[in-house]
């Protein structure tokens, strides 16, 4: 029997018995989300690239396919996943990558995981195999359920197959380094905000601003001449380490917060060490402050905060929602998983 039918039968059975399921991929992102329990539903057997058309810029693969296998196939044709997904481990699968919906340093300029999803086949909480979207770039038939699945941590459906838009790899990249105080960051951003720069990453930490530029060699030289810089580095090591949380910054026992807010916002009034990624729109904060304090400060700037690595802090992982939105999200969850069996509580403590 094919693996998708097997998986759907397991979900159907669990649905009728109201038996919670814990969806398991490569376990590389098992640290993310609230604790969940249930029988494990292993999707790693559902693996393999189904189709890859380089000239169409589309790849379709089964959810259990290792991310590195996909990246290797794309690399052969000088293409890549332009949202630079973090792996967080050698066994990361495509399904886990999409379910977690994380994107790497290029995200503000190239788009996020959800921006690249063209279609999915999935199993809803009733065990039905459903297909949404497709393999074409533009598709507005029906609600955009494919993108809804991104970042839902498996709580709306078990991903089976995923079609992604892919892009040609960049010709060349270089990193420029500047000395810049944290308080001067927003002024710097203001100065350059209306200039078209070939930016593909921007990070600030401990008085150093790093910019990655990508393009043809001559356009990189031109941008370097325009921006100036204190140092110029040609390898991508820093950005890979940032994406995979291997920088020494991340070696800490403190709770790690992911803060999403406006790039140009001022430093947050919170104790701790802050690393600005995505030109400031994604901040990594190591802080001992209470969860409610962190969240109140972030909310005051219109953002939201995820408790990315807990260090035993007792707080919901994802930012609590205002009542109206929370009720709507609960109804959406029920629309896909009426018995509440898919990764219960992993996404929201309420369901």
């Amino acid at each position: 029997m094919s693996t998708d039918i097997e998986l759907s039968e397991q979900v159907t059975l669990a649905h009728t018995q109201a038996q919670p399921l814990r969806i398991v991929g490569g376990n590389s992102k098992s640290f993310l989300g609230n604790a969940t329990d249930g029988d494990s539903l292993d999707v790693r057997t559902h693996t393999g690239i189904i189709s890859y058309e380089p000239s169409e810029l589309v790849i379709t693969a089964k959810a259990g396919t290792p991310l590195r296998e996909i990246e290797a196939a794309l690399h052969e044709h000088s293409q890549w996943l332009a949202f630079e997904p973090p792996h967080f481990g050698a066994d990361a699968t495509l399904g886990g990558t999409i379910a977690a919906g994380l994107s790497g340093p290029a995200r503000p300029w190239s788009g996020s995981a959800r921006d690249f999803v063209l279609g999915v086949r999935c199993i809803n909480g009733k065990g039905e195999i459903l297909k949404f979207g497709g393999q074409v770039m533009k598709n507005v038939a029906g609600y955009d359920v494919s993108r809804l699945m991104v970042g839902a941590m498996g709580t709306l459906g078990v991903l089976l197959d995923i079609s992604l838009k892919v892009l040609p790899t960049v010709e060349q990249s270089l990193t420029l380094q500047f000395e810049l105080a944290e308080n001067d960051l927003s002024a710097w951003l203001r100065q350059w905000s209306s200039t078209a720069l070939p930016l593909t990453a921007a990070c600030h930490h401990q008085d150093t601003l790093r910019l990655r530029l990508s393009g043809t060699p001559s356009s990189l030289d031109a941008a370097h001449a325009l921006l100036g810089a204190d140092a110029r580095v040609s390898d991508d090591q820093f950005w890979n380490d940032l994406r995979e949380h291997r920088l020494s910054f991340f070696e800490s026992e403190k709770p790690l917060w992911r803060v999403s807010l406006q790039g140009g916002a001022q430093p947050l009034p919170l104790h701790g060490d802050c690393l600005y990624d995505w030109g400031g729109a994604q901040r990594w904060l190591l802080s001992d402050e209470r969860a409610t304090v962190v969240r109140a400060a972030v909310e005051a700037c219109g953002g939201h905060a995820t408790l990315f690595r807990q260090a035993d802090l007792d707080a919901p992982v994802f930012h609590p929602l205002p009542t109206g939105l929370r009720d709507l999200q609960r109804r959406v969850k029920q629309a896909f998983d009426p018995a509440g069996i898919l990764n219960p509580r992993r996404f929201s403590p309420d369901w």
């Binding site: 598709n139 029906g142 892009l167 729109a281």
Partner: protein, 483 residues
Amino acid sequence: MKQRLISALKGIIAGDSLLTTTEQMRPYECDGLSAYRELPMAIALPKSIDQVKAILKTCCDLDIPVVARGAGTGLSAGALPLSNGLLLSLARFNQILEVDPVNRTARVQPGVRNLAISEAVACHNLYYAPDPSSQIACSIGGNVAENSGGVHCLKYGLTVHNIQQLTFLTMQGEEITVGGSGLDGPGYDLLAVMTGSEGLLGIIMDITVKLLPKPDVAEVILAGFDDVALAGSAVGLIIGAGIIPAGLEMMDNTAIRAAEAFAHAGYPTDAAAILLCELDGSREDVAAQTARVCELLNTNGATSLQRATDPAQRQRLWAGRKAAFPAVGRLAPDYYCMDGTIPRRHLPQVLSKIDELSKEYGLAVANVFHAGDGNLHPLILYDANKPGELEQTEAFGAQILETCIAVGGTITGEHGVGIEKINQMCSQFRAAELTQFHAVKHAFDPTGLLNPGKAVPTLHRCAELGGMHVHNGELPFPELDRF
């Protein structure tokens, strides 16, 4: 019921904000797809969000359906009024509330015209990228509701990729904000679900769009081909070479001649097809890419090549493409615009099928495509005054859409389902998926009063199309896939 609705509305809006006579309502009887016409019970043109809330509550209490309308340029009868419903025009919400040049965002009301956003932020050297050909008229609220695209979407994405936050009202008048002030919002990605929801899930009241800095330079290349298939394969070659043009559009001979006569863009009227390729970015990147694209075009069958660098020249070359619909509109009393999207490699096959069908039905077709992303706009020429010709045209169009589905494509790339393609939804999706869509709708709108009957067909309707007998909503042999 109509009288009850009108007297209740009079307590909320008055004067020219409430239209109730046939004469007043006539201009609103259809959207851009004028084959479908209907008059609503009344039309409300509120000015404040509190008025909209009160109107929705009233309709909720009276159990009256509500159809939202932006600028009415939609091409799938999404904003078609319902005879037993209220038409809610958002046209008076036309203010740009805030421009944030540092974060490159603008907060706008739903009735703001697409082009007005780019005009308002031009002083910051910024613009809003999605540019539907209807951009001088269509509203941003309508763009969100349809997930509209434009000629620059190949590189810069559709509406869904270019908005950050939305506030919408539920049928009960509750205000809900989705997305975030940063690049993502908390919880499920309901911003994605709202985008393209065709007025079925909520009334969009406030939109934060992303802005981009204008590229340093742009160059447009116009290539003529004496074979449509060659033009099609050149598209694959350009993208295969690792170049993502800002726009990559194709027109066939009928469309070229119509556009040239209308806009005098300097198109080669003897060509079987033209490609318009725009490259933008830094001076150095554009120079390198232009050289490469010209080389690819020359070695792969282009019979003519023009290049435009200065804004006036570029605008002239685009003018023909942007005016393609009205230009084709002069070739026949009426035209019917299709919107299927296919994997690009099937372009030659689908084009010859369209050609075949055109002969079979005796109806001419002009083809305009967003070639880079495989989005086809065959324009079927017909005369609505000839008895039976509209029906023939619709049957022809339906077959084109079935062809798109058969090659792995979709029935609509950017114009939406509305009423127009509701039957083809039964071909593209199975009962289980349609049921899931209805469940999503129910989660957002338990009353079912927002734009009912559009976008997602009932199972009953699909079953009837298939000629099946449905009793009490039950399908015979429910275990079988038939949709």
